[in-house]
Symmetry: C2
DNA sequence: CCCTGTGAAACAGTTCACAGCG
DNA sequence: CGCTGTGAACTGTTTCACAGGG
């Protein structure tokens, strides 16, 4: 696949957002086309930003007519999805883990499937929760290999987050989404995204204070 | 303390992280001082970055000796906390809402307190959950005013996220942390941070695929 | 016209590199 | 020396502004 130059995480995130907004928009408004400024309004970004992002997936609209939604969505998908799909493991099936599962059990995207949950608490394992089978921690390596899992979601307490990351990486995972409030260290060939909710809230609080 | 030249959200987020890391580090390692490269290693950023960030709170370390942890933490707190604290409302007491509550019920920071939860489901209201009293939605305005709530956390389904945001803003909230997978629109004097978990996961999946 | 595509400018954030000091 | 503080350089991202087209 030839894709021109590097695409930044920010662009990828926006493309993912555009795809979802466009899918909803096409379904709800029965529209087939959209302008850059229309999509911009939906996404809360500038029209120029939308055009740049769309450039990066190699799709072209037509002047005065805008973008063909279906075609645009297909181009975005071709650029950001793995052709064969990707399997995801969720470690930590507490409140947060279950909340995450419910986001994905809707079955919107078959692209990314949470195929296994793991937890140390015996009462949470051996069950199927929101369509996701849950296993005890010590089966992680085995299940990860069997299910071809490449992505891990860390939803465990901070005290065991690094250890969890290490085990996931050891089991062949190359992408991690970490919700534990501690930065985790991984080899450079593994991509990590830290989502630290308390930091987010403190940041909101800071700017809220100054926006009055 | 008129250092309030523009500080970026990214810097604020890192400062919040530094503060937590330093607090833990001082407690666990019984250390009183730290070098920029030491803090950098803990936070997973560069030493130059740490020094820049610390500059922005107006604290100075000493050459060869590094930073005095206690003093540094105090400077960070003085810079990012509201002197009188801030009250937070959580709307949506489902799995995600409860997960968020458990992050803050630890009582680490008395600075930011989730003082009220709101939900439409009657069985979730009228109770105290993880130290947070839960009310029915129609008491939002009243409670928000009484408790001097300035920050709102949106943990409701996408379909009612915008409506929820509007009600919070109407009740005087000036900062929003939105977990619903839809961008919300607010007046410019309100600060919003969108945390879209499905987008995060798709972004991780994209880069995992390409990480050599 | 009113769109899109895009070079160029502007802006933001990060790192470099070194002076200065204990 | 080995550290911090910081101007300057650099890198990445967003916006501007306008050519080109149906």
């Amino acid at each position: 696949m030839d894709w021109k130059g590097r695409v930044s995480p920010k662009t990828i995130s926006r493309l993912s957002l555009y795809r979802r907004l466009l899918t909803d928009y096409a379904a709800n408004e029965h529209a087939e086309r959209i302008y850059s400024h229309g999509l911009a309004r939906l996404a809360g970004v500038s029209a120029a930003q939308v055009r740049r992002d769309i450039m990066s997936v190699g799709y072209s609209g037509t002047p005065n007519t805008g973008y063909e939604i279906r075609a645009l969505v297909d181009h975005i998908s071709a650029h950001i999805d793995a052709p064969e799909g990707q399997q995801v493991a969720l470690v930590g099936v507490g409140n947060l883990g279950r909340a995450i599962l419910s986001y994905f059990s809707g079955g919107r995207r078959a692209q990314l499937k949470v195929v296994a949950g793991f937890d140390t608490a015996p009462e949470k394992t051996g069950r199927v929760l929101l369509g996701c089978r849950c296993y005890p921690m010590d089966q992680l390596a085995e299940v990860a290999r069997r299910e071809r899992i490449t992505i891990g979601i860390i939803a465990v307490p901070a005290s065991v987050a690094q250890e969890t990351a290490d085990r996931l990486v050891g089991a062949g995972v190359v992408g991690l989404l970490n919700f534990a409030p501690v930065p985790i260290k991984v080899p450079l060939n593994v991509f990590v995204e830290n989502v630290d909710i308390t930091i987010k809230l403190e940041t909101v609080a800071f700017f809220a204070l100054r926006s009055r």
